[in-house]
């Protein structure tokens, strides 16, 4: 981490990207159209890859370049592409989802970010400014991803939330520890890829079962009635 202090400009750049990343998380919460939601998600993936490549450069860790490329390919291109294709297939690209209480959602989102800064306080005295901020931001991205999943009813939007959580975790790994060991990173990427494929399969199952992708209608298994 000491290298970061020697490169104040790089540190500023990473902090700036971190701010953009959390901004994209807020944007996602406010998107009504599924296609634009996926678009914002792709931008977030791109920003993460950029931040990773920048860390790789400043800290001179070659294997981070590889993670950056992996993340770029998966989160900025492959998964958004798969989702857009599915949206087109289910003919939902025009559909506009009414957001429930958008202002409350965004206020809750802001408090979640504050909360994540509070949670990482114990880490404060351990590390440099950049790390502290980025860990808080990454936890914020994780929590906002969850919020996205909670507030949406469309299965595809929930999957975007799921993948945004993965983004937050990836950012945490890069920011706090300059990347997990290679084998772990490969494993995580593999899991994410398989998860994305299984989600795709699920859309078809759900669609054929309830004739829509509105998961609120999945309500047969209810503890109260059983």
């Amino acid at each position: 981490m000491n290298e970061l202090i020697d490169h104040p400009l790089d540190e500023q750049a990473i902090l700036f990207i971190a701010a953009l990343v959390i901004f994209t998380s807020f944007l996602m919460l406010a998107q009504k159209r599924l296609t634009s939601l996926v678009g914002v998600f792709a931008w977030q993936g791109f920003l993460l890859a950029l931040a990773t490549a920048l860390s790789a450069h400043t800290q001179d860790i070659p294997h981070l370049y590889f993670s950056a490329a992996l993340n770029l390919g998966l989160k900025a291109f492959l998964i958004p592409w798969m989702l857009i294709r599915l949206i087109a297939k289910f003919d939902m690209h025009r559909e506009i989802e009414a957001l429930l209480y958008p202002s409350i959602t965004l206020t809750a989102a802001a408090s979640l970010v504050l909360f994540s800064y509070y949670v990482v306080l114990p880490i404060e005295h351990l590390s440099t400014l950049a790390t502290r901020n980025t860990i808080a931001v990454s936890l914020g991205v994780v929590l906002l991803g969850m919020l996205l999943m909670v507030t949406r009813r469309q299965a595809i939007a929930q999957v975007v939330g799921f993948m945004a959580i993965e983004n937050g975790l990836f950012f945490a790994a890069v920011a706090a520890t300059s990347g997990m060991p290679m084998v772990v990173e490969m494993g995580i990427a593999f899991d994410v890829l398989v998860a994305a494929i299984i989600f795709g399969v699920f859309f078809f199952h759900i669609n054929s079962s309830i004739d829509s992708l509105d998961v609120d209608r999945l309500n047969r298994l209810n503890e109260m009635e059983r």
């Binding site: 060991p181 998860a195 999945l218």
Partner: protein
């Protein structure tokens, strides 16, 4: 370590093989054969460990010690017996047209995929890879939950996927924090995610970061254990999937998730020197135990009934590991074994019972002892065992947990006793008419292989009467490493 490589290579090969021939009539028997081979490999590994003590592979990526070796053996054993049950069961499902050839291939291939993930979870030494394997287990099983493609099963699978996916993401965040703490020590060797290295350097890890990490790890892996209030996916996934899946989910997956939590707890205990992790686990465990015991009463589906019983028992184990100390830890280790044996035996009989009655609704399954005595008695004895009656092993381990609680936290004992009584009455209130009573017309016996049930229950009985020397030696060693990291 050849045995270890074999143990991992066999299910991997099985996965590929079953992806090709999984829909043929030979798939069931092949599943049994592959699992027997894996069981032999596990046995070989166990003998190695018993003779030479803990050992790890060259790079230290895999490590087997007294704590995980018995779980490996248990996993291989339950995997084998469940596959013996699965062969005629799935054949029957196919004859009734509930599964297509493609889904049968998926089922058999993913059975092996799940076993592979379980062996990896247990034997890996890398905390990051542990997470990867745990997520792999979810991915392998999620499409099996929706194997029948009924609206209910698809809903259950979706719930399982989303809840476990989000839950386990928390565990990854915890793992990142763990890695962060390891990096802070400034020691290059500790800056890996290898558990054995971290364990040696546990005292140097920053206690605050480790406490924070543990909260995330417990919530994450706790979702998979089925701890209340993160348990919502569990009854659904267990009740809607094919019964062999329920047996291995309940008998293996829950245990292995708990195993992951204990590994993390050992690190956190070493770092903080307090019982912070233990208190958290006690709280979650006790809550799960009591809530699940109450929920037992209102179940209408036989598989949901027993999945709540699984939550209840996982609650006891989590609680006992949280209490810490040699006695409670020993009891928890033993409870892991007996619960997994008993519960998978119960799910096997429940699967047959549901096929006999043609439904999973408790009120429509009646008089099993008259229709098919073997299944009726199997269910009754299994239920007696799981409810904690002597002389079965569950009684012994629950008794030990109670004793340990009495010593350390006497004021919690009444709650435990109350929970046990509530759970017992809940189970018997439902199962008594299912087993006894007049059999309705239309219930016909099915072809069933009850050897797995008999073997499991005999083993549980044996463990209740006397713990064999090999096992008690492993239990003691594991107890020493788990409880030893905490100054009492």
């Amino acid at each position: 370590m050849t045995a270890l490589y074999l143990l991992i290579a066999i299910p991997l090969a099985g996965m590929v093989l079953q992806a090709r021939l999984g829909d043929s009539r030979a798939a069931g028997p092949w599943n049994v054969r592959i699992n027997s081979l894996a069981f032999l490999a596990a046995l070989w590994l166990a003998i190695d460990i018993f003779n030479d003590g803990p050992s790890s592979t060259n790079g230290g990526e895999f490590r087997v010690d007294a704590f995980n070796v018995y779980l490996v053996l248990l996993t291989a054993f339950v995997g084998l017996t469940t596959s013996i049950f699965s062969a005629p069961y799935m054949e029957n499902e196919r004859l009734h047209g509930r599964v297509t050839a493609k889904r049968l291939r998926l089922y058999h291939s993913m059975y092996q995929g799940f076993m592979l993930a379980m062996y990896l979870v247990l034997t890996t030494n890398n905390m990051g890879f542990l997470w990867v394997a745990m997520e792999g287990a979810t991915l392998a099983t999620v499409l099996l939950v929706s194997l029948y493609r009924t609206p209910e099963s698809i809903e259950a699978a979706w719930k399982y996927f989303i809840l476990c996916g989000v839950g386990i993401a928390q565990a990854l965040f915890g793992t990142v924090l763990l890695y962060f703490a390891a990096g802070q020590t400034g020691d290059n060797a500790a800056a890996s995610l290898q558990w054995s290295v971290l364990f040696e350097h546990a005292r140097e890890l920053n206690p605050q970061v480790m406490s924070l990490a543990f909260v995330f790890l417990l919530v994450g892996y706790g979702t998979k254990i089925g701890l209340v209030p993160l348990h919502n996916w569990l009854p659904d996934a267990h009740s809607e999937g094919p019964t062999p899946m329920s047996a291995i989910l309940s008998g293996l997956l829950l245990n292995d998730a708990l195993y992951a939590v204990i590994r993390c707890k050992m690190l956190v205990d070493g770092a903080t020197g307090t019982n912070m992790a233990g208190y958290l686990m006690m709280g979650f465990g006790l809550l799960s135990f009591l809530v699940a015991a109450l929920f037992l009463h209102r179940q209408k589906d036989i598989k949901r009934l027993y999945s709540y019983s699984s939550i209840e028992h996982m609650g006891i184990m989590t609680f006992a590991f949280g209490v810490g100390g040699p006695l409670a830890t020993f009891a928890a280790l033993m409870h892991m074994t007996v619960h997994s044996l008993t519960k998978s035996a119960i799910f096997v009989t429940v699967g047959h019972a549901a096929q006999v009655a043609g439904t999973q609704q408790l009120e429509h399954i009646r008089g099993l002892i008259r229709t098919q005595p073997a299944i009726g008695w199997g269910l009754l004895i299994g239920t007696i065992a799981i409810a904690g009656f002597p002389p079965f092993g569950v009684f012994t381990s629950e008794f030990l947990v109670l004793t340990a609680t009495m010593q350390l936290y006497p004021w919690l004992t009444p709650l435990l006793l109350l929970g046990i009584v509530i759970a017992f009455s809940g189970l018997f209130h439902h199962i008594q008419p299912v087993v006894y009573g007049p059999a309705p017309a239309g219930q016909t016996p099915v072809e069933a292989n009850l050897w797995p049930v008999v073997t499991h229950l005999v083993l549980v009985l044996w463990l209740g009467l006397a713990v064999p020397g090999v096992l008690s030696q492993w239990f003691e060693q594991a107890t020493k490493t788990i409880a030893g990291s905490l100054p009492l």
